[in-house]
Protein backbone atom coordinates (compact mmCIF):
# COMPACT_ATOMS: atom_id res chain seq x y z
CA UNK A 1 0.00 0.00 0.00
CA UNK A 2 1.40 3.37 -1.03
CA UNK A 3 -0.27 6.58 0.15
CA UNK A 4 0.74 10.06 -0.94
CA UNK A 5 -0.05 12.48 1.90
CA UNK A 6 0.43 16.21 2.36
CA UNK A 7 3.63 15.77 4.33
CA UNK A 8 5.13 12.91 2.33
CA UNK A 9 4.63 9.34 1.17
CA UNK A 10 3.79 6.37 3.38
CA UNK A 11 4.38 2.85 2.16
CA UNK A 12 3.90 -0.46 3.86
CA UNK A 13 4.45 -3.77 2.12
CA UNK A 14 5.11 -7.21 3.42
CA UNK A 15 7.84 -9.09 1.56
CA UNK A 16 5.11 -11.22 -0.01
CA UNK A 17 3.08 -8.18 -1.18
CA UNK A 18 6.15 -6.66 -2.80
CA UNK A 19 7.00 -9.96 -4.47
CA UNK A 20 3.41 -10.21 -5.80
CA UNK A 21 3.58 -6.70 -7.28
CA UNK A 22 6.96 -7.45 -8.86
CA UNK A 23 5.58 -10.65 -10.39
CA UNK A 24 2.42 -8.91 -11.67
CA UNK A 25 4.51 -6.21 -13.31
CA UNK A 26 6.83 -8.74 -14.91
CA UNK A 27 3.95 -10.83 -16.27
CA UNK A 28 1.41 -8.18 -17.27
CA UNK A 29 3.51 -5.02 -17.67
CA UNK A 30 1.28 -3.17 -15.21
CA UNK A 31 0.29 -3.07 -11.54
CA UNK A 32 -2.60 -1.43 -9.75
CA UNK A 33 -1.90 1.07 -6.98
CA UNK A 34 -5.17 1.48 -5.07
CA UNK A 35 -5.92 4.73 -3.22
CA UNK A 36 -2.59 6.21 -4.23
CA UNK A 37 -3.45 9.67 -2.86
CA UNK A 38 -4.82 10.10 0.66
CA UNK A 39 -8.62 10.33 0.36
CA UNK A 40 -9.04 13.69 2.15
CA UNK A 41 -6.27 15.24 0.05
CA UNK A 42 -7.77 13.76 -3.13
CA UNK A 43 -11.18 15.23 -2.25
CA UNK A 44 -9.59 18.70 -1.95
CA UNK A 45 -7.96 18.32 -5.35
CA UNK A 46 -11.18 16.92 -6.81
CA UNK A 47 -13.20 19.94 -5.64
CA UNK A 48 -10.71 22.22 -7.43
CA UNK A 49 -10.81 20.09 -10.57
CA UNK A 50 -14.61 20.22 -10.76
CA UNK A 51 -14.53 24.03 -11.10
CA UNK A 52 -11.49 24.27 -13.39
CA UNK A 53 -11.49 25.01 -17.12
CA UNK A 54 -10.47 22.60 -19.87
CA UNK A 55 -8.90 23.06 -23.28
CA UNK A 56 -8.76 20.88 -26.37
CA UNK A 57 -5.55 19.01 -26.91
CA UNK A 58 -4.54 17.15 -30.04
CA UNK A 59 -1.73 14.61 -29.79
CA UNK A 60 -0.56 14.51 -33.39
CA UNK A 61 -1.34 11.17 -34.93
CA UNK A 62 -2.37 9.68 -31.57
CA UNK A 63 -5.54 11.18 -30.17
CA UNK A 64 -7.77 14.03 -29.07
CA UNK A 65 -8.84 14.92 -25.51
CA UNK A 66 -9.38 17.93 -23.28
CA UNK A 67 -6.77 18.89 -20.67
CA UNK A 68 -7.07 20.81 -17.44
CA UNK A 69 -6.17 24.42 -18.15
CA UNK A 70 -5.30 25.42 -14.57
CA UNK A 71 -1.48 25.29 -14.66
CA UNK A 72 -1.22 25.86 -10.90
CA UNK A 73 -3.48 22.93 -10.09
CA UNK A 74 -1.64 20.65 -12.51
CA UNK A 75 1.64 21.78 -10.93
CA UNK A 76 0.25 20.83 -7.50
CA UNK A 77 -0.66 17.36 -8.77
CA UNK A 78 2.81 16.99 -10.24
CA UNK A 79 4.35 18.21 -6.98
CA UNK A 80 2.59 15.37 -5.14
CA UNK A 81 3.95 12.71 -7.49
CA UNK A 82 7.50 14.08 -7.46
CA UNK A 83 8.62 12.28 -4.35
CA UNK A 84 11.92 10.51 -3.79
CA UNK A 85 10.42 7.83 -1.55
CA UNK A 86 7.70 7.11 -4.10
CA UNK A 87 10.36 6.82 -6.82
CA UNK A 88 12.35 4.33 -4.74
CA UNK A 89 9.28 2.13 -4.11
CA UNK A 90 8.37 2.16 -7.81
CA UNK A 91 11.93 1.26 -8.74
CA UNK A 92 11.67 -1.71 -6.36
CA UNK A 93 8.38 -2.89 -7.89
CA UNK A 94 9.36 -2.46 -11.52
CA UNK A 95 13.13 -2.85 -11.48
CA UNK A 96 13.43 0.26 -13.63
CA UNK A 97 16.48 2.52 -13.60
CA UNK A 98 16.70 5.53 -11.26
CA UNK A 99 13.67 7.79 -11.60
CA UNK A 100 14.43 11.49 -11.80
CA UNK A 101 10.98 13.01 -11.95
CA UNK A 102 7.31 12.65 -12.83
CA UNK A 103 5.59 14.79 -15.48
CA UNK A 104 1.85 14.52 -15.90
CA UNK A 105 -1.33 16.17 -17.14
CA UNK A 106 -4.99 15.93 -16.17
CA UNK A 107 -7.07 14.88 -19.16
CA UNK A 108 -10.68 14.08 -19.88
CA UNK A 109 -12.19 11.93 -22.62
CA UNK A 110 -15.82 12.86 -23.21
CA UNK A 111 -18.13 10.35 -24.91
CA UNK A 112 -19.55 11.56 -28.23
CA UNK A 113 -17.07 14.45 -28.39
CA UNK A 114 -14.77 12.77 -30.87
CA UNK A 115 -12.16 12.05 -28.23
CA UNK A 116 -9.98 9.01 -28.86
CA UNK A 117 -6.56 7.47 -28.31
CA UNK A 118 -4.59 5.28 -30.74
CA UNK A 119 -1.87 2.70 -30.24
CA UNK A 120 1.43 4.35 -29.34
CA UNK A 121 4.51 3.53 -27.24
CA UNK A 122 5.35 6.85 -25.50
CA UNK A 123 8.88 5.44 -25.42
CA UNK A 124 11.82 7.85 -25.63
CA UNK A 125 12.58 11.26 -24.13
CA UNK A 126 13.87 9.59 -20.92
CA UNK A 127 10.47 8.04 -20.16
CA UNK A 128 10.64 4.89 -18.04
CA UNK A 129 7.09 4.15 -16.87
CA UNK A 130 3.61 5.60 -17.18
CA UNK A 131 0.94 6.12 -14.55
CA UNK A 132 -2.75 6.87 -14.85
CA UNK A 133 -4.76 7.86 -11.78
CA UNK A 134 -8.56 7.89 -12.08
CA UNK A 135 -10.10 11.20 -11.00
CA UNK A 136 -13.69 10.32 -11.79
CA UNK A 137 -16.15 9.43 -9.04
CA UNK A 138 -18.73 7.89 -11.36
CA UNK A 139 -17.74 4.70 -13.18
CA UNK A 140 -17.31 5.33 -16.90
CA UNK A 141 -17.78 2.77 -19.65
CA UNK A 142 -14.92 1.86 -21.98
CA UNK A 143 -11.85 4.04 -21.53
CA UNK A 144 -9.73 1.04 -20.56
CA UNK A 145 -5.97 0.97 -20.87
CA UNK A 146 -4.81 -1.75 -23.26
CA UNK A 147 -1.23 -2.93 -23.63
CA UNK A 148 0.12 -5.13 -26.41
CA UNK A 149 3.46 -6.18 -27.84
CA UNK A 150 4.20 -4.54 -31.20
CA UNK A 151 3.15 -6.79 -34.08
CA UNK A 152 1.64 -9.30 -31.67
CA UNK A 153 -1.44 -11.24 -32.62
CA UNK A 154 -4.27 -11.93 -30.20
CA UNK A 155 -6.01 -9.91 -27.56
CA UNK A 156 -4.20 -7.12 -25.73
CA UNK A 157 -3.78 -7.05 -21.95
CA UNK A 158 -6.51 -4.84 -20.53
CA UNK A 159 -6.20 -2.77 -17.34
CA UNK A 160 -9.52 -1.07 -16.61
CA UNK A 161 -9.39 1.43 -13.74
CA UNK A 162 -12.76 2.88 -12.73
CA UNK A 163 -12.24 3.31 -8.99
CA UNK A 164 -11.80 6.91 -7.83
CA UNK A 165 -8.20 7.50 -6.72
CA UNK A 166 -6.84 4.17 -7.96
CA UNK A 167 -3.85 4.21 -10.28
CA UNK A 168 -2.36 1.92 -12.88
CA UNK A 169 1.41 1.91 -13.29
CA UNK A 170 2.64 0.42 -16.55
CA UNK A 171 5.79 -0.28 -18.47
CA UNK A 172 7.02 1.80 -21.39
CA UNK A 173 9.21 0.09 -23.93
CA UNK A 174 9.98 0.23 -27.63
CA UNK A 175 8.42 -3.26 -27.84
CA UNK A 176 5.13 -2.34 -26.13
CA UNK A 177 2.30 -0.21 -27.40
CA UNK A 178 -0.71 0.99 -25.45
CA UNK A 179 -3.93 2.92 -25.93
CA UNK A 180 -7.08 3.93 -24.08
CA UNK A 181 -10.25 2.52 -25.62
CA UNK A 182 -13.15 4.78 -26.60
CA UNK A 183 -15.26 6.06 -23.71
CA UNK A 184 -18.89 5.01 -24.14
CA UNK A 185 -22.13 5.99 -22.42
CA UNK A 186 -22.66 9.35 -20.68
CA UNK A 187 -19.85 9.56 -18.10
CA UNK A 188 -16.51 11.06 -19.15
CA UNK A 189 -13.18 9.59 -18.10
CA UNK A 190 -10.98 11.98 -16.12
CA UNK A 191 -7.45 10.97 -15.20
CA UNK A 192 -4.12 12.33 -14.07
CA UNK A 193 -1.62 10.65 -16.34
CA UNK A 194 2.06 11.02 -17.00
CA UNK A 195 5.50 9.54 -17.10
CA UNK A 196 8.21 8.70 -14.64
CA UNK A 197 11.40 9.85 -16.35
CA UNK A 198 15.10 9.35 -15.74
CA UNK A 199 15.74 13.04 -16.40
CA UNK A 200 15.48 15.85 -15.33
CA UNK A 201 16.27 15.21 -11.68
CA UNK A 202 13.83 15.86 -8.86
CA UNK A 203 15.19 19.24 -7.73
CA UNK A 204 15.26 20.52 -11.32
CA UNK A 205 11.66 19.41 -11.82
CA UNK A 206 10.50 21.05 -8.56
CA UNK A 207 12.34 24.24 -9.57
CA UNK A 208 10.50 24.14 -12.90
CA UNK A 209 7.15 23.67 -11.12
CA UNK A 210 7.99 26.57 -8.80
CA UNK A 211 8.78 28.82 -11.76
CA UNK A 212 5.55 27.79 -13.47
CA UNK A 213 3.54 28.70 -10.38
CA UNK A 214 5.30 32.07 -10.12
CA UNK A 215 4.55 32.80 -13.75
CA UNK A 216 0.91 31.86 -13.15
CA UNK A 217 0.67 34.16 -10.07
CA UNK A 218 2.24 37.03 -12.01
CA UNK A 219 -0.14 36.70 -14.97
Amino acid sequence: MITIRKLGVEASFSGQELADLQRQFQENHFVRLPNLIDRALLEELYSQITTAHWENRVHDGIGIEVCLKDAGLVALMNFLLNDQELFQIIQKITGCQTIGCFQGRVYRMIPSAGHYDSWHTDFGEDRLLALSLNLGKEPYQGGALQIQRNNAAGLPIEAPNIQFGHAVLFRLSAELKHRVTKVEGDIPKTAFAGWFKSSPDLWSELTELSQLSQAQSAS
Binding site: K6, L7, A75, F79, W203, L206, T207, S210, S213, S217
Partner: protein
Protein backbone atom coordinates in the same frame (compact mmCIF):
# COMPACT_ATOMS: atom_id res chain seq x y z
CA UNK B 1 9.29 42.03 9.34
CA UNK B 2 7.30 40.39 12.12
CA UNK B 3 8.78 40.42 15.66
CA UNK B 4 7.72 37.12 17.16
CA UNK B 5 7.44 36.59 20.94
CA UNK B 6 10.29 34.28 22.02
CA UNK B 7 7.92 31.63 23.32
CA UNK B 8 6.10 31.43 19.97
CA UNK B 9 5.60 27.98 18.53
CA UNK B 10 4.62 27.42 14.94
CA UNK B 11 2.85 24.67 13.07
CA UNK B 12 2.59 23.65 9.46
CA UNK B 13 -0.74 24.84 8.01
CA UNK B 14 -3.30 22.33 6.75
CA UNK B 15 -2.87 23.64 3.19
CA UNK B 16 0.85 22.94 3.00
CA UNK B 17 2.34 20.13 0.91
CA UNK B 18 5.92 19.14 1.78
CA UNK B 19 8.60 17.22 -0.11
CA UNK B 20 11.82 16.29 1.71
CA UNK B 21 14.78 14.69 0.00
CA UNK B 22 18.58 14.77 0.09
CA UNK B 23 18.41 17.26 2.97
CA UNK B 24 16.33 19.61 0.84
CA UNK B 25 12.75 20.73 1.35
CA UNK B 26 10.17 22.02 -1.11
CA UNK B 27 6.77 23.44 -0.14
CA UNK B 28 3.57 23.96 -2.09
CA UNK B 29 0.34 25.61 -0.97
CA UNK B 30 -2.95 23.94 -1.88
CA UNK B 31 -4.93 27.18 -2.28
CA UNK B 32 -2.45 29.80 -3.49
CA UNK B 33 -0.59 27.16 -5.55
CA UNK B 34 2.63 28.91 -4.68
CA UNK B 35 5.81 26.88 -4.32
CA UNK B 36 8.85 27.54 -2.18
CA UNK B 37 12.22 25.78 -2.42
CA UNK B 38 14.03 26.24 0.87
CA UNK B 39 17.70 27.22 1.10
CA UNK B 40 19.90 25.39 3.68
CA UNK B 41 19.17 27.90 6.49
CA UNK B 42 15.44 27.86 5.80
CA UNK B 43 15.53 24.05 5.63
CA UNK B 44 17.14 23.92 9.09
CA UNK B 45 14.53 26.34 10.43
CA UNK B 46 11.72 24.33 8.85
CA UNK B 47 12.90 21.15 10.56
CA UNK B 48 12.89 22.87 13.97
CA UNK B 49 9.54 24.53 13.39
CA UNK B 50 7.86 21.35 12.22
CA UNK B 51 9.26 19.39 15.16
CA UNK B 52 7.54 21.83 17.53
CA UNK B 53 10.48 23.91 18.81
CA UNK B 54 9.67 27.33 20.23
CA UNK B 55 11.33 30.38 18.70
CA UNK B 56 13.83 30.66 21.55
CA UNK B 57 14.73 26.95 21.27
CA UNK B 58 15.01 27.25 17.52
CA UNK B 59 17.39 30.19 17.76
CA UNK B 60 19.52 28.41 20.35
CA UNK B 61 19.75 25.28 18.20
CA UNK B 62 20.67 27.15 15.06
CA UNK B 63 23.17 29.42 16.83
CA UNK B 64 25.11 26.29 17.80
CA UNK B 65 25.26 25.14 14.19
CA UNK B 66 25.97 28.33 12.24
CA UNK B 67 29.10 30.35 12.96
CA UNK B 68 27.65 33.82 12.32
CA UNK B 69 26.87 36.96 14.30
CA UNK B 70 23.96 36.08 16.69
CA UNK B 71 22.04 39.28 15.94
CA UNK B 72 22.38 38.78 12.21
CA UNK B 73 21.32 35.16 12.56
CA UNK B 74 18.32 36.12 14.70
CA UNK B 75 17.24 38.66 12.10
CA UNK B 76 17.63 36.07 9.32
CA UNK B 77 15.50 33.60 11.25
CA UNK B 78 12.79 36.22 11.83
CA UNK B 79 12.88 37.09 8.15
CA UNK B 80 12.50 33.47 7.05
CA UNK B 81 9.68 32.83 9.52
CA UNK B 82 7.94 35.99 8.34
CA UNK B 83 8.15 34.79 4.73
CA UNK B 84 6.89 31.30 5.56
CA UNK B 85 4.07 32.79 7.63
CA UNK B 86 3.07 35.37 5.03
CA UNK B 87 2.94 32.61 2.40
CA UNK B 88 0.69 30.62 4.79
CA UNK B 89 3.03 27.65 5.06
CA UNK B 90 3.25 28.06 8.85
CA UNK B 91 1.09 29.65 11.51
CA UNK B 92 1.41 30.41 15.20
CA UNK B 93 0.27 27.45 17.24
CA UNK B 94 -2.60 28.51 19.47
Amino acid sequence: MEKWPTDSRFQVTANTLVKSFDDKIALAHMQTKRFHLLNPTATRIWKSVSSGSSLVELKQQIRQEFDVDPEQLSASIDQILTTLNSENFIEIRS
